[in-house]
Subunit: 229 residues, 2 copies
Amino acid sequence: MTQMDDTRKQILHAAVERILHYGYSKTTMAEIAKDCNMSAGNIYRFFASKLDIAEAMARKFNEEAYETFARIADKKVSAADRMREIFHYELTRTYSAIADEAKILEVAEVLADERPLYMNEKLAKERTYLVQIMRDGMEAGEFRQIANPEEVAEMWQSALMKFRFPQLFSKLTLPKLQREIDGVMDLLLAGMSPGATQPAVWEGLPEAVDPHCVPGVEVVMKKHLNADD
Amino acid sequence: MTQMDDTRKQILHAAVERILHYGYSKTTMAEIAKDCNMSAGNIYRFFASKLDIAEAMARKFNEEAYETFARIADKKVSAADRMREIFHYELTRTYSAIADEAKILEVAEVLADERPLYMNEKLAKERTYLVQIMRDGMEAGEFRQIANPEEVAEMWQSALMKFRFPQLFSKLTLPKLQREIDGVMDLLLAGMSPGATQPAVWEGLPEAVDPHCVPGVEVVMKKHLNADD
DNA sequence: ACGCTGAACAATATATTGAACGTTCAGCAA
DNA sequence: TTGCTGAACGTTCAATATATTGTTCAGCGT
């Protein structure tokens, strides 16, 4: 049904055009429809909601990243450098995208708010590449043996969370962010080096039972958290 | 001038009482004043602003933490366990405080918003203890030699940022947060183990010049960022 | 002099209202 | 039947007016 697909693409194209120029909240379904010479109601035969248009926009934006991840993961350089390049690439890519097209930030914010599962999906997809690189590194003797690469990949993502939407989390400049992300990755990589010894299991406090258990979804707050130098 | 100090304490006490019950924005200077049998104007002889009362409240709350940090740093257990305990303690402490007194969250939010430098000060103070423990660990041969402990301490804080105000950043339960923070710390500690080799300096992309440079202050956003099964 | 009040002021928050918006769907057209 | 429209609905948004609040300070009492 290429007719349907074409119309979808047309709508998405018109929406991206407007959203990049006026922002997500300032572009209306009626305007997108007018750009496509159709009624607002008709858009709903192609997208279930305005949010779905934003998600499609993000998917398009991220496809490029997945391709790059795949290319980086297959590079013939050290696994450490590939790990670094993945996160460096993603940091620079999102930072510049937002710097160039400031209105993208609003889309990211809305999606982070309303589509947490999509964010999750993206993290999961990224992890497959991290795991692949880690296995390579283990095989090559560059990394120590890691029992649970999938879990360690999650820890990398956790430790590097604040670099994921640079302008949402901090007002640091790109060079500063790059130096900081490198610093963290230096430690993480050292922790995976062959000589590194996994620390003894820590007998922490007894696991507290949490009465305020809202399963599943992470939430992130807005505005200043700390300052720098 | 103990008279002055007493009045300050009285005001702070009344403010804390009200803020814990009604929240920061819902308690007015006039109400605090009435509780102290004085006029609102008089409060300003003891606190420069309402925000300063919130900051004093946080300082009081955090003093307890610094004492604990000092006690942990001097413990006769492995440096690794001390590092872990510092962050574990802080995570549990802030998590429970907010779980018990939900209104504290608003104070944290306001301060993070309006007093970034105070947050910074807190991080700097925490780092002195981290550095002390790291030096201990190096001396004991438990950690590898680290050229710049102050910088590595910053990287720890960066990697563990999301655990600092647990309920602001995520809706994960405390047990889940604890498992995740332990996972990240496992990696960081392995990276400081004597056998760990610091990765070769990474020749990253040429340092991009950032036109959107807002020096100094970090900003953090609100709401959902990702989800977790 | 000193400590404090309470009126006054500017800034912020709250309430209200009308318009605009996302979304649905009965019905028209092909 | 199928594809689409445009009116209708409930919600959200923006603008305005109103009230509260944080903050200041002239002046009063001690």
